[in-house]
């Protein structure tokens, strides 16, 4: 059993007691970001460095880190950009970012038959000067737009109609699991990122 003894929620830091020893963990929650500390360090964290004392128990590291992440996001909710800002970002993105947007449209939205969503992003990209000045990018955007128009107006994949029993017993999330696995390219992802 793990005990979260103190946390700096806005930074995602936590002081965790595991088997009698204290550890400071911080994002991105890798091995190198888990450091052994003393009881006096914990006292200083609370009294001098703005940590909030707490006493919560968790069955696993995964549950504890999930809790820190959720609190971290809650603290920062006000900073999420609105849709107008996202549109502006798409319309002003540099060439390499545009290319990554196109990759995602190609490998995520179109295979999922999200024609309208893809069409919306592509329309904004057409206003982007980087696209208009780059023949290759412009050709790519045009080709993808053509695919979305051929796809039609209906986004919803017909999986629920084809597998009604799955939706009935396990819910729509189960049907979406297949999309996720197709994108990841592994049913059981093994190995670290290159």
């Amino acid at each position: 059993m793990l005990r979260l003894r103190a946390a700096a929620w806005e930074d995602g830091y936590g002081v965790v007691e595991d088997g009698g020893a204290l550890f400071l963990v911080r994002p991105p929650y890798r091995k190198a970001n888990k450091v052994a500390i003393s009881e006096s360090d914990l006292e200083a964290a609370v009294s001098k460095h703005g940590f909030t004392a707490t006493d919560q128990t968790f069955a696993s590291w995964a549950a504890l880190i999930e809790h820190l992440r959720r609190r971290f996001l809650d603290e920062r909710k006000g900073q999420v950009p609105d849709s107008d800002r996202i549109k502006k970002l798409v319309e002003r993105a540099p060439t390499d970012v545009v290319a990554s947007y196109l990759d995602r449209i190609e490998v995520e939205l179109l295979p999922r038959r999200q024609w309208r969503a893809a069409n919306g992003v592509l329309a904004h990209l057409l206003r982007n000067p980087a696209v208009r000045q780059d023949t290759n990018l412009l050709d790519r955007v045009s080709a993808l737009l053509e695919r979305t128009e051929l796809g039609g107006d209906v986004d919803a994949p017909p999986l629920a109609e084809d597998f009604p029993l799955v939706e009935e017993l396990y819910g729509r999330v189960a049907l979406e699991l297949g999309d996720r696995i197709r994108r990841e390219g592994q049913v059981l992802p093994m190995g670290s990122a290159a």
């Binding site: 590291w61 295979p111 084809d162 597998f163 699991l177 297949g178 696995i181 197709r182 049913v187 190995g191």
Partner: protein, 282 residues
């Protein structure tokens, strides 16, 4: 052997069991659950045929699984029952041709791939048609697509058999971390994982407690991502049984199970998976 013994034991305690052989490259569950019967006489079709019909022939999926499933044991006194969906008609060349023709990339990763809902539907059909108390899935050792289905998509409890050597433990630890991480990232409920050290000698010289502590410490070492740390508090054990090395038989059918350490190990594993009232009915 563990799965077959557990299936038989549950049946004797009045449970309805459905056993599914997903060890497609080395199938053998039918040899344990249908001893003495010619497997091809019992059923012509199995899991490979069911997948092949969908993935290669693109045929409509059958309403009923009855063609693919055989009843292998019924205990009328207590209501226990075992159904088996074996891998297929293994001795035939057609089985291996069909297995080789299944393109797992198309099934899971191509545009519009429907492999995941297909396997979830298989589980749903088993639940609807056979209403088992327990669905036991025999999965392949190693990293395969069908192994991924058996460990990340379908199960609620995973019994992971380990061998005390570095090659096996290294691989198993990575798989177990990956299962935890994968289910978390895909918003699936976490699965219960039971690590079991298998083929441990029962002699006093084997320093069993020390071996188990070493293995557990190795499994629990910090992962690169802290969230992936395993933190197992206990490892289960399956001891070696010399007579099974001479002739493999189901201990529960042998008539000598009461003096078998391995049989007691099976019961310990079982007790971790099923509620106590199943094993000790009031």
């Amino acid at each position: 052997m563990l799965l077959a013994n557990v299936a038989k034991y549950l049946c004797r305690f009045g449970q309805k069991v459905f056993a599914l052989d997903f060890d497609l490259e080395a199938p053998g569950l039918h040899y344990k659950l249908i001893p003495g019967e010619s497997p091809e006489a019992v059923s012509k079709l199995g899991a490979v045929d069911y997948i092949y019909s969908f993935a290669v022939e693109d045929r409509p999926r059958p309403e009923s699984l009855s063609e693919y499933v055989v009843e292998v044991e019924r205990n009328e006194n207590v209501g226990g029952l075992i159904h088996l969906m074996r891998a297929g008609n293994v001795p035939t060349a057609e089985y291996w041709r069909r297995l080789a023709r299944i393109n797992w990339h198309d099934v899971f990763y191509s545009d519009g791939a429907r492999g995941v809902p297909f396997f979830l539907e298989l589980k749903a059909k088993i639940e609807k048609e056979f209403s088992p108390d327990y669905l036991l899935i025999d999965s392949r050792t190693g990293i395969t697509e069908i192994g991924g289905v058996a460990t990340t998509i379908l199960p609620e409890v995973i019994v992971c058999l380990l061998l005390n050597n570095r090659e096996n433990l290294d691989g198993a630890r990575e798989v177990l971390r990956s299962i935890r991480r994968t289910r978390r990232q895909r918003n699936q409920p976490p699965a219960i994982i039971l690590p079991v050290v298998a083929r441990l000698p029962a002699s006093e010289e084997s320093n069993e407690a020390e071996v188990l502590e070493t293995v557990r410490d190795f499994l629990n070492e910090d992962a690169p991502e802290i969230e992936d740390n395993l933190s197992f508090s206990e490892l289960l054990v399956l001891h070696t049984e010399p007579r099974l090395e001479v002739k493999e038989t189901l201990l529960i059918d042998s008539g000598t199970s009461s003096d078998s350490l391995l049989f007691r190990d099976y019961i310990h594993v079982l007790a971790k998976v099923v509620p106590a009232q199943v094993l000790m009915p009031t």
